[in-house]
Symmetry: D2
Subunit: 356 residues, 4 copies
């Protein structure tokens, strides 16, 4: 598998940098005959698009997607689907400070250590702009799994969590935080605003659920559904943790409390709980597939931080440019995309080995 | 990548079932010229071996490894290294109940849903016995990364955590729990004993640290070091969560509190903190690489749980056989092995693209 | 893909050396539910087995296969199938000469140049004994493509070709040369005997045909059916050329002469010719899939040949040990196996992307 | 590995159709720090470009390449290099006949059988226009192997072969046939012209040689250098045969005649012959690496050929559009590109496993 490719049969490769002319994705292995136009992709990009509220970076990118191949007569042909998004608002800026000193928490030092030099304009390849390409690819993946519905939301910002009792899926699109709890959304507005004004930043936890996944998807041992989801989510910029089902909480439960008992149901067993997050032995059980993802606070802050220059001298650096005060918020559509991409791949893998 | 293969250049494939004649691993891509004998592998298998204390399953397996290929004159030749471990104590047992009804929390139902039937003897391929093959492969991987030291320990059992102030690496091998805190080890003895006697089970959290990893390992975007570690760890039986560095805790910190400032050091920058767990932008920074892994309580408990039969009828099932009351304990050497396997692979990948 | 793994969904990994304790293959991705026992594999190994006539090496290997995993209740489970063949007749021999000087035409020098040293006993990993593992894996692949019949034969030895007019499939198993032309078989008996007695060696051309392959298998662009067959066949020891359909002869035909016209048929088009060898655009057309493979004469000859020692000094070397005077003969079952393995993989790949 | 991706570490993915807006390649795993601009790529595209003489298709494509990512400050960054070539001369044409009936020898029927429908404009994805993307990627690969020189030429057109005694490398670029024999070039002018005027077509054989390849590249068993070359070349449109070194001719030689004896040399052994084409045991020996590739005559001919319609009815079809009378000619730069791509990948693979 390539470094910049994900998936085994339904695969996508992304390319592009923050300040290059464009970025994109090539999807390979997509089933033929799926109705696909740019209008199927754009709404998902619009969700992730920066500059839509004061709570995200003020970079203005229309993020218009173009389909360059793989579609004929409005349908996927089974050949590679090339998607391109042109960068528009690569604001002319003085990058001399970033070029010279490493921003702590960013990939600056690591890229230099690995490659010997780096594209320092907006973080180059390490920028979260790369996730636009994932979201575009994810929109295509959704078409390959029409039986599945996927929904992500923000569960926690800066340590302030939603109240599960107030969960209302209809609220998720009613606020700029993908927050299912209207009260929490109100609190977060202040919280994020304060961080933004202070030039500080906040972390977040995203939850994502896929319903309609039939039992049987997942390829033990090293392509388990949960293993693939963990890889997919951990590859997102700023992510530091991934949980399936109850995750770390499960480690605190007794075997009795963590059980997901079954009863006879109409279509396979009816489960009485879902601590497992819809996955057992790396294979879907037919229950909702659930993942939780921790985003660290973005490392771009106004407070100067000690650092070193490329030449190894002491320095201080503060980030004045455009950035998200809470990068996790825009992580929600990205986690959704990764869920879709993993599930599409696993559906095809299952069909390859087991038919049907 | 195959379902049962992990890695990109330094790769291993495992095979075998709980109650088959043997299990094993084939390692491909190992550098030539490394001194390797069975004695380099056996100590790691002995750590994971069942039946060494009353806190693990009473299945008695010597877990003797045989090297069947890839070594000549005591050195690796660069060709595939085939490792085999014969199963010895596949106790003759009546599996009719397990064959008939699904054990909740186990892979039974999922395997049936996927493959149409399953090897129900001891869980077949879904048994944690598969991890013996990983540990054997991991021992070989260590030889490919002599610059790195890897150490895992148990940080929490059944919600009872170690006291970081009492952390003593020398204690880890002094108790049957890989516990670095002698007081916690004493408490856990009672805790696990109680669970065992009650036929209950407990979860655990494992921490693992790799020191000596140079800056520059990790292949963005979809073979990031953290993404690979997440995939590797989540593929271990019973794992439900993975964290890099501060993990979910990082989501609760401000950007200022989460920063890892740098100062000039003797060999590259000196970091003043390691919230990131030694990885930035998916690439190692030269700091210790840190991962935490949550193991759920084993689903095998004495208390009967509601379930369904293969024919879809209501039933109850309790697990009377041999099993670990806390499967996470023996997870420690497995997490170590996965860390070694990921790092060996990333070292080779880095060398491929960037030389040196 | 690993160095020692072939295939994308139906994959196999081989391991083992000529004079190690055993060799084997691990098959991953095999569909579940196929009836499989060692008796399904052994007949194919027996065809390739050395020592069955005076026209092959006199090494006596029973080549008994053992299934170590992946089968339960006589059926494949969908988990890795581990196959092992123990080496029995690793005749104790003085290898000092081979250890010291490079045999021209063998892999000796190349392995040393690559790995720094080599297992010189019988060629180590570069020995054609590795193909036993392929034949075993190929026997399993056949079970996954019951709609297909595969047959290979020897078409040419030492430049003496069969007469197409005398082609009789029933003859193929009636002589030690897999020769479909009884007259040619009689001639080859003298030819190969003469070469054997003179300590010389001969090349051969193998043809292989698969019937029953439905239209639609093959994954353009870089996993085309013909591209995969070329890779599979060229990886066999001593192979120097691969042709699909008319191969090099097609380059001499006009477009008119090379056409494969179609007429309406009962099940899809009826083709009036098969210059293409059953493949167009990398995809099967429903016609028989045809490949031809050129084997060079084995490099082991009694006549001393100029060479150099490991230390770079001039030397002469002659091969006195056991070897095949015409290694191409035993290539027939190996080419069959590779055809089966490629087709099984392509069947599954097609099912993954296109369903059905 | 994806269907449309080639390579293991130095990998490229191509996308695009004959009549889509553009086509391109994404290169992943390229070493960082290589000087790269569009000017390094364009000359190779110009060699393959259609419309440069009356012996190739009259489609007029400037084939201007754009680098969209992976380069900063004139150097490769180690991140994906996205190359795009816009289609310009997708002449408006009536495709109703091609849409309705299958052109024998083309991929039309096979694509329909596989995918259920097809992009019939100029052959869609099955068009040889895809090879422009390979040539662009190959130009980048050359930069990764500066120690290697690669040269391809046409050795045979329509059965008329060059005279080896008249081989003059300097002639190759002096005629529109990449022909190293001036006399043959003169003959071919008439030959190809006659075919073109008659609406007929001719096959060709391309030879390609890489010098400067050090001993040790190649990854046995299933990523052997020859196996990779075979796969790479057989994936080119219209290719039906691949030979390494003496190829099929080697099958007619005795072991003595086929030997490549060695003598002490200044840098490793000096070989006295190169029947093997520079590869032994799948690994380069330090001699020139030689491959020969057979191209069938293009299936587009003016003479009507029997065929069937999509509905299965009898029809006749003749190709009136623009096409190459001998598609093999423009195959020369494509074979060079594939040689470069395989060698770059093998260099990196060797470095991964064996260092240096």
């Amino acid at each position: 598998m390539s470094f910049n490719t994900f998936g085994r049969v339904f695969r996508f490769t992304t390319w592009g940098e923050s300040h290059g002319p464009a970025l994109g994705a090539v999807i390979d292995g997509c089933p033929p005959g799926l109705a696909l136009s740019e209008d199927d992709i754009q709404p998902f990009l619009d969700k992730r698009r920066p500059g839509t509220s004061r709570f995200t970076t003020q970079r203005r990118e229309p993020d218009r997607v173009k389909i360059l191949s793989g579609v004929f007569d409005g349908k996927t042909t089974g050949t590679p689907i090339s998607l391109m998004i042109e960068n528009v608002d690569q604001r002319s800026k003085d990058y001399s400070e970033v070029a010279k000193a490493y921003r702590p928490g960013h990939a600056d030092y690591a890229y230099d250590a690995k490659y010997g030099f780096r594209d320092y304009r907006g973080g180059g390849r390490s920028s979260a702009r790369e996730t636009a390409a994932r979201v575009a690819a994810g929109a295509v993946a959704r078409l390959a799994i029409p039986e599945v519905s996927i929904r992500a939301w923000v569960e926690e910002i800066g340590g302030d969590t939603i109240d599960p009792a107030k969960f209302d899926a209809a609220e998720i699109d009613n606020n700029p935080f993908f927050c299912p709890d209207a009260d929490a959304a109100a609190r977060w507005e202040r919280l994020v605003d304060d961080a933004r004004k202070a030039g500080s930043s906040l972390g977040a936890v995203i939850a994502c659920e896929a319903t309609g996944v039939p039992a049987g998807w997942g390829a033990p041992i090293y392509a388990k559904l949960d293993s693939e989801l963990a890889s997919a989510c951990m590859s997102i910029n700023a992510v530091k943790g991934v949980e399936i089902g109850d995750g770390f909480e499960a480690a605190r439960l007794s075997g009795e409390a963590n059980a997901d008992p079954m009863r006879p149901g109409n279509h396979g067993p009816q489960f009485l709980a879902n601590h497992a997050g819809g996955i057992a032995g790396g294979i879907s059980t037919g229950q909702p597939v659930r993942v939780r993802v921790a985003f660290k606070p973005t490392s771009s802050i106004l407070t100067p931080v000690e650092t070193v220059t490329r030449e190894g001298e002491a320095a201080e650096i503060a980030t004045k440019g455009r950035h998200d005060p809470c990068v996790g918020i825009r992580g929600a559509p990205v986690v959704e995309a990764m869920m879709a991409l993993v599930l599409a791949d696993q559906k095809l893998l299952h069909r390859a080995q087991c038919g049907g």
